[in-house]
Subunit: 364 residues, 2 copies
Amino acid sequence: MEEPRKRARPGRSPAPAGRTARPRQAEVARLAGVSQATVSLVLADKRQGPAISEETRRKVLEAARSLGYVPDPAARRLAAARNNLLGVFSFTATFPTDVQHSYYPFLVGVEREAAERGYDLVLFTGSSTGGAGAAGPDALSRVRLADGCLFLGRHAPVEELGRLVADGFPVVHLGRRDEPAGLHWVGADYVSAAREVVGHLACLGHRRMVLIREDDEAPASTDRERGFAEGLEAVGDGSVFRSADPERDLTPERLRSWLADGVTAFVAEETDTGAAWRALRRAAADAGIECPRDASLALLGSPPADLADGPEPTGFDIPRTRLGAAAVRMLAALVAGEEATEPLVACTFRPGATSGPPPATEDH
Amino acid sequence: MEEPRKRARPGRSPAPAGRTARPRQAEVARLAGVSQATVSLVLADKRQGPAISEETRRKVLEAARSLGYVPDPAARRLAAARNNLLGVFSFTATFPTDVQHSYYPFLVGVEREAAERGYDLVLFTGSSTGGAGAAGPDALSRVRLADGCLFLGRHAPVEELGRLVADGFPVVHLGRRDEPAGLHWVGADYVSAAREVVGHLACLGHRRMVLIREDDEAPASTDRERGFAEGLEAVGDGSVFRSADPERDLTPERLRSWLADGVTAFVAEETDTGAAWRALRRAAADAGIECPRDASLALLGSPPADLADGPEPTGFDIPRTRLGAAAVRMLAALVAGEEATEPLVACTFRPGATSGPPPATEDH
DNA sequence: GCGTATTACTAATGCGCATTAACGAGTACT
DNA sequence: AGTACTCGTTAATGCGCATTAGTAATACGC
């Protein structure tokens, strides 16, 4: 025989004893001798709504306090037609096991800014769609549960993202990204940052430089190259060394031949692997080049963890935390129906110890 | 004249253009040519309740998929159902800038296990920042949006937690905790782990040991002490050195006097600061005690980051990732209305290099 | 005194969903 | 042919709150 219980909630109105249920606005209203609507108004404390007498306000607040009234967030969000929920979706686990993955600093900023704005975060795991739940091509659509969603990682499927964007669902991608047209993103201003590094080298007197980069087409790489080029435009000239495997191809001999050609500074891009910088450092060491003396080195980003304890490289730091915050700001703006905010976040220049004036030449 | 707009939601039903709003069950129903109730039934996929024809089921699922329908979590909660959302609430920032005491390893386990079970995570923010959400007496109550909530950190206000627990809201605290009666928790089995470490020392031949601990009453400390006592029960005897500032109070002289008393092994508890272990290592060094030779040292936990590169201490590792997973398992059980699962998670013994047989005595 | 404001509140409605009583259409059995 | 069931679907309801239209009461102006 089925118990005809109404909902799972125990003891209601006349309180048949047992646990007292959480009080509702209705109970507060009864105690204060007013209507539920009045309670809502008092507690909302709007300035523009109907006026409430001081007397009533007092009674309601008193009643609410004495009952220990606490609003039900679900009901509140339902009635207000917004969730105050921002999604965070990464295509790998948000918390990869290899500790202190680079997402961490982003999340710091994301959390802080979201908290600041009263949003909570929903962490969608790539696997929450692949694991127990349904996989399939519409896996991404789960993020619609939030008011908007932040995407991390390069492997976002263009198709599905495009669909979300086309539906007007607020989406912000962390990192510049052109692919689904209309996708909003925030990213570090690699162009300016690279330009600034080159400018710094130019100030020191360098006129001829080489950029070492890996062989891919990620915006992060091309932006750096552009900044490199722009920085050199009026003050010198440079060339780009591009290799799929810099650690193999960047030989000490090549470095020496560049030096012989009058190159006095080398700039490496930062990548996931840090291969360019590692290759550059090693080749320089093998070639017997002492760093700020014989040639200057710069890194367009931060050194990989395994090279962290060498001399601090001249270059710039990616403001990951601020990026996370900026992403949330933009997402919040989109959710509010406003224009997207500024997508570029400035990197901070790092003087470092791997650059100095070029060695004296015959001009001297 | 007042525009009779319904809520702030733009473009509805016949879609006057512009942004498409999130689809509701009603839209799915319309597209599938059935009623909203039917949609709900199909999507709920209950085995009891009214039967649904295969034909209808197909149509509904197809419509839902093509619209990218996702249930509104707030509405679901309100209608007394489940969300598939588990909350995570920490009383400091979940992603602290100060990496020292990071919840990261826990979160790895939490995320993995949650994904495994088809739950998404809601990170309730604003606990620390006091941002827009400000810390009222209802700061905690936001978590009711989720099906259940995980709490991290020691500073959980007993009052509010008690309220949630009393209301039957599924709550699991990470770390043993007695305070709000009835609170569920998962924690590392410090008692067994400490016992095992002591047992190991006893096996090596140690009979008299001293436990160095800080002066507080956290369960994590008292549990370790209990394990220490239990481990010694039948095999030897020990005493406890307790200090609010071990680095000041634990002098080399004291160490020597213990040695003179026949103490051959020292055990330090792990705390946030790592003070006990640091003090012990330093005092031993200052006293000219060479580690495994003159006396054995053990650490009930993991060394602080700044001592990580010394010899690996004998002791145990706290299985943080597994703890996170266990917490989610328990929370899921509670949400499902089942009994709470096993709260204790075993630590893994670490042989280390700071222990060995006691030095030869006059008995020799 | 009768409109017109103004103030202080309440009734009614709906947010999106789950749930259940009710209903219509078959089919089976007296 | 009438009754009893079963099956598939829908109408209706309510969760707890915010919002708005509406009402009652009082103050004001001429």
